[in-house]
Symmetry: D2
Subunit: 352 residues, 4 copies
Amino acid sequence: MTVSPFDHPILGGLLGDEEMKPSFAAEADGAAMLAFEAALARAQAAAGLIPSEAVGAIAAACAALRPDIAQLRSGMTRDGVPVPALVTALRAAVGQPHAAHIHFGATSQDAIDTALVLRLKPVLGVIDRRLAHLSEQLAGLAAREGHRIVMGRTRMQDALLIPLAHRIASWREPLVAHREHLAMLQPRLLVLQLGGAVGTLDKFGGKGGDVARAMASELGLTPPEAPWHTSRHRIVEFAGLLSLITGSLGKMGQDIALMAQTPVREVSLRTGGGSSAMPHKSNPVRAEALVTLARFNATLVGGVHQALVHENERSGAAWTLEWMLLPQMVMAAGASLRLAAELLRDLDFQTQ
Amino acid sequence: MTVSPFDHPILGGLLGDEEMKPSFAAEADGAAMLAFEAALARAQAAAGLIPSEAVGAIAAACAALRPDIAQLRSGMTRDGVPVPALVTALRAAVGQPHAAHIHFGATSQDAIDTALVLRLKPVLGVIDRRLAHLSEQLAGLAAREGHRIVMGRTRMQDALLIPLAHRIASWREPLVAHREHLAMLQPRLLVLQLGGAVGTLDKFGGKGGDVARAMASELGLTPPEAPWHTSRHRIVEFAGLLSLITGSLGKMGQDIALMAQTPVREVSLRTGGGSSAMPHKSNPVRAEALVTLARFNATLVGGVHQALVHENERSGAAWTLEWMLLPQMVMAAGASLRLAAELLRDLDFQTQ
Amino acid sequence: MTVSPFDHPILGGLLGDEEMKPSFAAEADGAAMLAFEAALARAQAAAGLIPSEAVGAIAAACAALRPDIAQLRSGMTRDGVPVPALVTALRAAVGQPHAAHIHFGATSQDAIDTALVLRLKPVLGVIDRRLAHLSEQLAGLAAREGHRIVMGRTRMQDALLIPLAHRIASWREPLVAHREHLAMLQPRLLVLQLGGAVGTLDKFGGKGGDVARAMASELGLTPPEAPWHTSRHRIVEFAGLLSLITGSLGKMGQDIALMAQTPVREVSLRTGGGSSAMPHKSNPVRAEALVTLARFNATLVGGVHQALVHENERSGAAWTLEWMLLPQMVMAAGASLRLAAELLRDLDFQTQ
Amino acid sequence: MTVSPFDHPILGGLLGDEEMKPSFAAEADGAAMLAFEAALARAQAAAGLIPSEAVGAIAAACAALRPDIAQLRSGMTRDGVPVPALVTALRAAVGQPHAAHIHFGATSQDAIDTALVLRLKPVLGVIDRRLAHLSEQLAGLAAREGHRIVMGRTRMQDALLIPLAHRIASWREPLVAHREHLAMLQPRLLVLQLGGAVGTLDKFGGKGGDVARAMASELGLTPPEAPWHTSRHRIVEFAGLLSLITGSLGKMGQDIALMAQTPVREVSLRTGGGSSAMPHKSNPVRAEALVTLARFNATLVGGVHQALVHENERSGAAWTLEWMLLPQMVMAAGASLRLAAELLRDLDFQTQ
C-alpha cells in the first residue's frame, strides 16, 4: 500500500533496489539513532560529563531496544521529529537512576543527522562497488564488441561511422569520474553531527570536541570541525552526485534506446519487454527506465538545493524537505546502477 | 520498510494521509484495471466485437480475481507495465473458450491510464471536500477572531496595523479559486482512455467510439474525443493544481510560523511540537510542514512538465516519470489539506 | 552584451521573439506604471479623494514623462523596486501644488503588478493568435499529407502503420485545449491590483472598490474582488499554461526529430541547419529547439510555484523570484510558437 | 529591451553584475571562438596537418576579425550554432590559398565548448576572489561583533542565547568549503574540447592528442583525456557549485532578514530600501535578494541536470538547454556574492 515507486509492490520490480532499501527502513533509522545515543553516553562518561556507571545500562538498552514504531510515529506527528518519543522510550527502558543521563546535552538533530550518515555509509559502499562493476562491464564490452562499426550521430542525424568502442568509452568515462568524486566526498559527507540545542554544545563544559571525536571514532565517522546542522552543502553535493550518476546512465540509456530502434537496430535486447497488444515487440524497458530515473533525479535535485535555505539555528521546513527528497534520490541512483548492469548484460550486437 | 515519506512508518504520521493512500495501493490499481477489462468486454459485446457469451465469464473473473502481486511485479520488471502479466492471469482465470476475448484490441496504456483516472476520482472528491471545509474553517475563524488587530508586514518589516480578518481572507481566497479550478478540470481529467496498440483503435472496426462511450458511461468517466495516451496536458494541469493548493497552504503556514515567533506571538499553538533538548518549546510543526509540502510539490511539478515530451505514440520514459511523481504530489496535497485543517484548529489568538 | 538567450545578439536569432520582446522592455514597464498612476489619479478625483484640478497635470505628466532609466535603475538597486524613484520623478515633473496627489494611497506593488498585467495583455493576444494559426496549419497539413502512411511507434520500437493524420491530430489537440484554457484564464489573470501599503486600501476612505472599478474600466482590466498582491495563483497558473504550450510543442518537435532521423526519413526538412564539419548534413534545428524550450519552461515553472510562498503582506524574496522567471517563460513560449510554425512550413514529406 | 533580470536596464541594478557580464557578451564569445581557431591552426601546423605558411594569415585574421554579429545571428538561426557562419567569415577574411586550412578537422562544438571554458576562466577567478573576500569580511565581523549575544532560534522559536560569533561562523564555513570545491573543480572544468565531427578526431591522422595538448597549453587550459562533447558532468558539477554558493548566501540572507524584523531587531540595515507608501521603512532588500537568487539557482540547476541526457554524439536539444541556463546561474552567483558583500558592510548591530 505504498505511494513510492521504489517501495511499490508492483512498480518496485522495475524501480526498486533491494540492496539500498534497508538503509531507509524505519528499523534502520531507529537502530542508528540508538547507536548514536550509546556512543554519546560512552564518550560523555569518558569525558566525565555523565557518571560511568550509567554507561552500561544505557548501552545495553540501546542495543536491546526495539522501539515501538507506532510510538515513534505519534511522536513524529506531534513533534516533527521522532527523537523525543525515542528518548522517552529509552529512558523508560533504562529506568532510574541512569535514565537522566541519556541524550544529555544533545538535540534531536544530532541523533537524526548522525543516523542519516550512518545509514548512508553502506549506501556509498554499494554505489562505489556498482560504479566499479559498470566500468568493468563497459571495458569488457569495449574489448569484445568495440571493433564493430556503428553510425556516429549528431543532432539526431547520421554523421560519420565510428567504432562502437568510441561510444562505449563515452558511457564509461563519466562513471570513472563519479567514482572519484564519491571517494573525495565520502570523508566530508560521513561526518558526525553534535551541536546540542542550538549548535553551541552549551552543556558540554568545553568538552564537546573531545566527545565528538570519541563518538566519531566509535561510529566510524569523520569528526566534525563544527556542527553542520544548518550547513547542508555536503548533503546537497551528494544529491548532486546522485543526479550526475543517474544523468550519465540516462545518457547511456537514451543512446541504447536510439540504437535499438527498429530501423536502426545497431543493438537488440535479449529480453526486451513485451506488449499486451503486440506480443512480437521487444521494448527497451530498462534503457527507457534509465532515462526516467535521470529525469527524476534531475527534478528532485533542485528541491534539495531549495532546502539549503535554513532559518537561523534549525529550519523544520527545510530539513523536512531534505528528508522527503534525498532517500528517493539514493534509491533512484541505486535502481539506475542496477538496471544499467542488467541492460549491459542484455545487449546483443549480433543482429547488425 | 519504505523510502517514501508518505508511506513511512514514522514520517507518515506527519506527512501521510490515510484517506488518499488507498487510491495508490497496488490492490486498487489491480481492481481498477480489472474494472476496465470488464467494461471493455461488456461494451465490445454490445458492439458485436466479441461474442456476448464471453461477457459473463470475463466480468465474473474480473470481479473475483485477486491478482498475484508478485506475478504483476515480475511482469512489471520484464515489460515495464504490469498489464501483460495481469491479462495472462485473467485469461487463465477465464479459461477457454472465452479467454481470447479478453483485452481485445486494447493496449496496456488503455488499462493503466483508465485505471489512473478511476482512482483519481475519489481523490478529487476528497480534495474538493477538504477545500470546502478549509474555506468554512477560515470563514469561521474570521468571524470569531477577525476583529483582532495584528501588524501588517511587508518585506519582513512592520508596516501598518491590519485587522486579522484581512490576513485570513488572503489565506481563504486562493482555496475558493482552487476549488473552482478543480470543478472545471474534473470532467476534462476523468476521461476514459481507449486507443489500442498505437491509438488508432485499429481492431475496433469503426466501433471504437461506441465502445468508448459505453465504457465511459459504465465507469462514470467522460467519454474521450480522442485517445489521450500521448497527450498528457490534463494530467499536468492537475499536477499544477495540486502544487497551487500546497503553495497556497504553504503561504498560510509560512505566515503562521512568522506570527508564532516568540517575539511576535500574534498567535500561539495549543499543541506545538516538543523538543528533545528544550522541553519548554512549542514548535509550529504543522505550519512548517505546510511550507515543506509547498516546496516539495513545487519541485515535483517541474518533472511532470518534463514528462509532456512523449516520443511518437508512447514513451516508456516519459510515462514512467509521470508515475513516479503524480501520486506523490496527490499525497502531498492531501497531507497539506489535512495539516492545514489541524493547524487552524490549533491556533490560539488569546495570547496576544 | 546580454546573458539571456532571448535577448542575446546571436542566440536570439534562434530563441528570441521580436513580437513578445517589447512587452518586457524597460520602456514598456515605465509606460505601464505611468498609465497606472494616471488612471489612479483620474479615478481618485472622480471619487473625491484628490482634487480634480490635479488630474490634468498628473495625466499630462504621465503621458509625457520618459523616465530616466538610470534613475529607475539606481532606485531599484536601493529599494528593490523602481516605483519610489519613478514617483519622485513624476512628482518633480508635475510640480506643486499637484505633486502631493500622485500615487496617493497606493504602494509599489499596485503599480508593478498592474503594469505587469497591462503588458501581459498583448502577450496573451499573440499567444492566442499563434495557437489558432498553428491549429490551422496542422489542420491543413493533415488535409494535404494526412493520407500518407507512417510507422506508429511505441517505446521507441516500430509498432503498427498509421495514417500520418493520426500523428498530426495528436499534435493539434493540445493546442486547441491550450487556447481554450487561455480564454478561460484571461479575465482571471488580467486583473487590476490595488491594495495600498498592506492591501487594506486604508487611505481610500471606503472608496477603494469604486476607484479600482473605475481604473480597471479605463485600463481594460478585470476589476479585482480583492487585492491579489500576495495571492499569486493566477500568475502561477499562467506560467503553467506557458509550460504546457512549450511542452506540447516539444512533443511535436521530438516526434519530428525522430521522424527525420536518417534511417527513418519519414519527413525531411527543406532548410535544416548546416554543420561546420559536415556540410551535407541537414539538422532539425527547430525541432530540437522545441524540445529545448519545453525542458526550459518545465524547469522554470517549478520556480514560479516556489514563489507562491509569500511572507505576510508582501515578500520581496518571492516576488522578485517571479520577476526573474515569468518573462523568460513568456519568451520561451513565444519562441516555441514561432519556431513551430516555421518548422511546419519546412516539413517535406515527399522524401518517403 | 531585455527579458533577463541580469541585463535588464532597471532590474540589473539589483540583480546584475558588471564584472561577470563581459564573459557572456556576444563579442567575448566571438573572440574566444577565434582564439580557438588560431590555436587550432598553430597546433595543426606544428603537427604537420596544415601548411605552416597558412598559420600567419589565419592567426592574423583571427586577431583582427570583428565578426558581424548580424551574420552570426542569422547563421545561428539557420544552423543552431554560429560556427558555420563564423568560419565562413573567417575564410573570407583569410582568402585563398589559406582559407581551406581554417577549422580543419574541427566541429562547431569544439569551438563553442572551448570558447565556453575560456570565458569561464575569469569567472572562476572572480568567484574565488569574492568567496575569499566574504570569508575575510565574516571573520572581521566575528572579531568585531561576535561577542554580542543574540537569541538562538530553532524551528522559528526562541531557543537559547548564543554569541553572534556562532551564527556568523555558520555563514562562513560553507564559503570556505565552496572555495575549496572550486579549486578542486577548476582543472577538471577548464578543459579544452577537441573531437571533430563525431568526437573521433578522424581527420587528425593520429595526431589529435598532440594538437589538443599544444592548444591547451597555448590557451591556458587543461588538455583533455578524451573529448567531452557529450560528457557534461563537469559543467553540471559547476552549476551545482554555483547553486551551492547562492544557497549558502541565501541562508545568510534569510537569517539577516529574520534578525532585522521589527520586533526582533538584532541587526539593522544602514541603507535599507525605501517604500513608495511608507517612507519610514527600511527594507532588507539585499537580504531578500539573496534568498531570491538562492531559489533561482536551485530552480535552474535541475534543468542543467536534465541536459545531461545527450543523444549519441551530440544533442542539439540538450546542449542548447545548457546554454540557456548556465550563464544565468553564473550571473546569479555573481550577483549573490556582490550583494552579500554589500549587505555585510551595511549591517548595524548597535541597535540592539
